[in-house]
Subunit: 310 residues, 2 copies
Amino acid sequence: MQRKLVAVDWGTSSLRGALIGSEGVVLEKRAFPQGILQVAHGQFQHVFEQRFGDWMAADTLCLVSGMAGSRQGWREAPYCPCPSGFEDIAQHLQWIEKDRIGIVPGLSTWNDDTPDVMRGEEIQIFGALTSQHIHSAQFVLPGTHSKWAHVVDGKIKAFKTFMTGEFYALLSQHSILAKTCLPDAPLKKEVFIEGVMQSQKPGGLLHHAFSARSLALFEKLNPAQSSSYISGLLIGEEIKSAKDERSEKLENQAPLFILGNGQLTQRYSFAMKALGLPATALADEVTWTGIWALAQHLYPQDFTQNFTLS
Amino acid sequence: MQRKLVAVDWGTSSLRGALIGSEGVVLEKRAFPQGILQVAHGQFQHVFEQRFGDWMAADTLCLVSGMAGSRQGWREAPYCPCPSGFEDIAQHLQWIEKDRIGIVPGLSTWNDDTPDVMRGEEIQIFGALTSQHIHSAQFVLPGTHSKWAHVVDGKIKAFKTFMTGEFYALLSQHSILAKTCLPDAPLKKEVFIEGVMQSQKPGGLLHHAFSARSLALFEKLNPAQSSSYISGLLIGEEIKSAKDERSEKLENQAPLFILGNGQLTQRYSFAMKALGLPATALADEVTWTGIWALAQHLYPQDFTQNFTLS
């Protein structure tokens, strides 16, 4: 029997799904602004059926990654502790309906005494490992809460979260810097790189952020440039912290990949190039690749074809 | 002739004034929630007369420090570039009424190619130098935008701004951390110090901020503790950056003073002690001391008595 797969990525602020045919090709995609924060308690099953019910034939498998597995989501899927690989995730799926609708657990790790968590990024990382045919690498997943993850021998060994995207929203919309900033202005690459380089100087983020104010006071930064500068400061600060750590650990001299959407990935690529940290950007179809690979792992006889990028 | 002095500190969000008698003793103090952001264009003279007009006898001198001298204030008093001392400020007063109502200019400095600015803190620093009878020191002025300033031979040589207080407001009220944080909870010293120590570890602020989220998820930080932890992370990050720089410059091994209000000064004292950076806390009466000393400098024959703390 060859089955179809409904791959769902249910995040904090959005709900995305793909219907993947038994040949491993995406047949249809849907996206809704219906993240878990927009779904009332007890309504997850209802929303799922409303959005994807027509895709669910009797023998269709559905795997859901992301915040749907959090305490505030559809069903809590406890974190798998690092190091965790594909097998660990597969063994700890939370089944809404056995062998039919499963929730993929997220991962936890401890940096010294401090926990860190991810939900949804793990499946993207496994998707990237699959699509790149590699077992060890470092991954950056830019976003509201960026993740930097180390993968060794197919297992996510450790990772760190950076609140870069959220800090950008706070500073560009709610701080004193917002007075002289158009948060949605298009990227000015040169000004962005100035921000990246500023962030590498002594002083730290709390100090450098104020330079967006003082440069505006001295008419050296206009509102259309300010957003690029602040973005550069923050992405530069994130890369600086992660890079310092990378250079401390020889084991981390693995290839570096950026996983994410076009615009943000481009900014990280620019910044990393400017900082001498070469990285390869991969599109975020890796979510579907990862969920398909998980289905193959769970039911090898039902999912014999490899996933094919459309 | 002995004159009285009306010392005014007109900031972004508050207006404070002190009537100081010719003996150098504060006779009366007033404070209003009427910072420059709350005053309409062209209404500064009116608000001043409304609040302090009854203090202004024919021969009374008034000196106004703070944001009143900014472009959005009463009258722009261009920044004095560092190094600047008392003489530089005195020479560049902006007179609303000659020899009667003067606006104290702020300072600017350049860290590499990046400008930094202060308005109001310079007079507090000069007040502290006067009250402590010293000419060289390092000063920390905690606040929405904290300042760290180096004074050598009576001149402010350089300074840096840190957006620590503003970041605290953003994170504790507007970020994902706000969900599990009571921003006005009383200080829990132990948790505060945990935040301070966390901020010294590798990872940087963008990463450490997320630990307030993950510790809450793992039930290791409750909402009444979270505000202390976040405050510790931020103040610790500020001190770390400033301390790294201090240790790089031998000339900065001058005594370290904290100038500010009680609660915040206490937090900085706790953090600096935990980080092995001893500092002496001074109350913010230094504003009146500084403005009085400036009056003495301008009109030595009219202000013969030294300022006396009440």
